[in-house]
């Protein structure tokens, strides 16, 4: 078991009160597992990714814990977290194209970063060049400024850099959103290859694109309004979803082969609740076609199958 997250609660403090971006999230990640984390904007998926590395100082860690490889991560403490970042937990940020320092050549920037961690650039350079070649970049990029590379190339540099110290957990936050379809595929497949080659032990892929994450993930978690509503193997989530939200989300995806004339795709009416004062009970019930009185109560987490968990009152039907 690589990662265990238990009842994680993260709030953002605002003038109006606390925004409960994560409200009791628990899950675990096995060795070598790629978990896809999908949901609408504002559902807390990026917060979940960032909170495991504590990237954002505005986050208030309210409760819960995360255990990585048997040791608890100090996710509430910025300073203590610093020794774990990059070596144990690493992230590919959402706008990784702008994650590179524009005033430094890439090689120099990497050397500076390594020095700050007490590592020698000269010792690691061989491995670095090897990995750059794996993603189709030549050693020459180390002498380039970020501006001289295309978006796809910068993305690949950041991917190599994030995984250079073989972290045990990698968080990939919307890494493919800003790319073209052809680059998207290459980047997604590189993530899988990094896992297969043992550069990273396990991975959380945060995305809003369900069809992309289906291609690479072993397990998919669907988030809604600060909570995980369904978790199952990728195949099951797509072929046999149980939660009404997952069903609606899949029903709203256009597929190549489907045309406007044959069948109208359906949207989900309404919008997600405010997380400032989240409603009690099931948070999807205002938009849910199956909602009934019992949904005003907190829904139970039902294990419908091995590895398939749904928090819904109607999961049994």
């Amino acid at each position: 078991m690589t990662l265990e997250v238990e009842d994680l609660q993260v709030h953002y403090r605002t003038m109006k009160g606390d925004v409960r971006a994560l409200d009791g999230v628990s899950f675990s990640l096995a060795d070598g597992e790629i978990v896809g984390l999908a949901g609408e904007s504002g559902c807390g998926k990026t917060t979940l990714g960032k909170s495991l590395i504590r990237l954002d100082g505005r986050m208030q860690h309210v409760g819960g814990k995360a255990v990585l490889d048997g040791a608890e991560l100090p996710i509430g403490d910025d300073r203590a977290m610093n020794t774990h970042r990059w070596k144990e937990v690493s992230i590919i940020p959402q706008y990784s194209m702008s994650a590179l320092n524009p005033t430094r050549k890439i090689g120099k920037m990497i050397a500076e970063l390594l020095r700050s961690r007490g590592k020698s650039y000269r010792e690691i350079k061989g491995e670095l060049v090897h990995r750059l070649e794996l993603v189709g970049l030549s050693e020459k990029v180390l002498d380039n400024y970020p501006i001289e590379l295309s978006g796809g190339m910068k993305q690949r540099v950041v991917m190599v850099l994030s995984t250079l110290l073989d972290p045990s957990l990698l968080i990939a936050d919307e890494v493919t959103s800003a790319l073209d379809v052809t680059n998207q595929k290459a980047v997604a497949e590189t993530l899988v290859r990094f896992r297969d080659m043992g550069f990273v032990k396990s991975m959380i892929v945060v995305t809003h694109d369900l069809s992309l994450v289906y291609q690479i993930a072993d397990t998919i978690m669907i988030m809604y309004a600060g909570r995980i509503v369904e978790k199952a193997p990728a195949e099951t989530i797509i072929k046999a979803p149980k939660h009404p939200y997952t069903k609606a989300l899949i029903g709203a995806l256009p597929e190549v082969g489907l045309e406007h004339g044959d069948e109208r795709l359906q949207s989900i009416p309404g919008k997600p609740p405010q997380l400032l004062n989240p409603p009690t009970g099931c948070r999807f019930r205002d938009r849910c076609p199956l909602a009934s009185d019992e949904c005003a109560e907190e829904p139970p987490v039902v294990a419908v199958d091995a590895g398939h968990e749904v928090s819904c009152w109607k999961a049994e039907d």
């Binding site: 978006g151 379809v181 052809t182 069809s211 291609q215 797509i238 489907l258 919008k271």
Partner: protein, 295 residues
């Protein structure tokens, strides 16, 4: 109805405009009333420039754009205003299309000031209610609100409603759903389908092939400023002839097929060469399916 005839566009780039970048090369397309035409391509393929030229936000370097057989290039403020009565655009980011200081319905008031100054208040309100209903928005829930109080889908539909206040014939929709969530984007997409049924021509610019396939009858695939393949959506997507189209379609993530089931290495493509020369000519491989010559 709207016709682009051998349109070229080059931008001046570099210090003091010392270099030229050819963004669109010899593009000829047409849109009929009641048709959604999709323009698909990677970033830098020139698809947005095509939209901008149709909207006259940038000039045409060579070639011409005709609306009902008349060249659209406006010669002054008046002609431009007349043109915008017939052709309107909606863009990618709904949040930056609005001024956050003003209420969102100000976009309607600006139309009234320029085009309907003599209309009475009651008539105008009725007209606004009417178009809002035609884009499936409840007037009560969107009027008088600030942009941050509305969702991306609502804002985007209000911009379409704004375009519909004028009797437009062509709507240029440039990546209008890329920023929206999966649950709301479908409303906007289905709305485009309804506009088509009302006889509007829609130029739908997108990088998402599955959206293009869902909504349009004809599709144009662009690369390096030129058209590489165009034709009926069904034919282009089921039987792509150009290696670039094949690569593109194979890379789309789909729910009924995994990449790993059918591993393919992308085909070699011609590198970006001299953009000043004429692009490879299009040949008709079957009825309503054109492909650029390729090695």
């Amino acid at each position: 109805m709207l016709e682009l005839k051998q349109v070229w566009k080059s931008y001046r780039v570099g210090a003091l405009g010392s270099k030229r970048l050819v963004a669109v090369r010899d593009v000829s397309i047409d849109i009929a009333p009641g048709e959604v035409l999709s323009v698909v391509g990677e970033s830098g393929s020139g698809k947005t420039t095509v939209g901008k030229m149709v909207l006259q936000l940038t000039s045409v370097t060579r070639g011409s754009i005709l609306l009902d057989g008349v060249d659209v290039t406006a010669k002054g403020h008046y002609e431009r205003k007349v043109y915008y009565r017939k052709v309107q655009g909606v863009f990618q980011d709904p949040f930056s299309s609005y001024n956050p200081i003003f209420k969102a319905d100000r976009v309607f008031d600006t139309v009234r000031e320029s085009y309907f100054p003599q209309l009475k208040r009651a008539e105008w309100t009725a007209k606004v209610d009417d178009v809002l209903q035609s884009v499936r928005l409840d007037p009560g829930s969107v009027l008088g609100k600030y942009p941050h109080q509305l969702s991306g889908g609502q804002l985007q539909r209000m911009l379409i409603a704004r375009a519909l206040l004028l009797d437009i014939q062509v709507l240029v929709a440039d990546e209008i759903i890329s920023m929206l969530d999966a649950s709301t984007r479908i409303d906007v997409l289905n709305l485009l389908g309804e506009l088509r049924e009302r006889g509007l021509g829609v130029l739908f610019i997108t990088h998402d092939l599955s959206l293009a396939n869902y909504i349009s009858e004809r599709v144009v695939i662009m690369r390096h400023g030129a058209v590489v393949e165009m034709g009926a959506t069904g034919k282009v997507f089921t039987d792509p002839q150009h290696p670039y189209s094949r690569n593109l379609i194979a890379s789309v993530p789909q729910l009924h097929r995994k990449w790993s089931d059918d591993p393919q290495t992308p085909e070699e493509l011609e590198p970006d060469g001299d953009r000043e020369v004429d692009p490879s000519p299009l040949t008709e491989v079957s009825e309503n399916h054109w492909v650029a010559a390729h090695p």
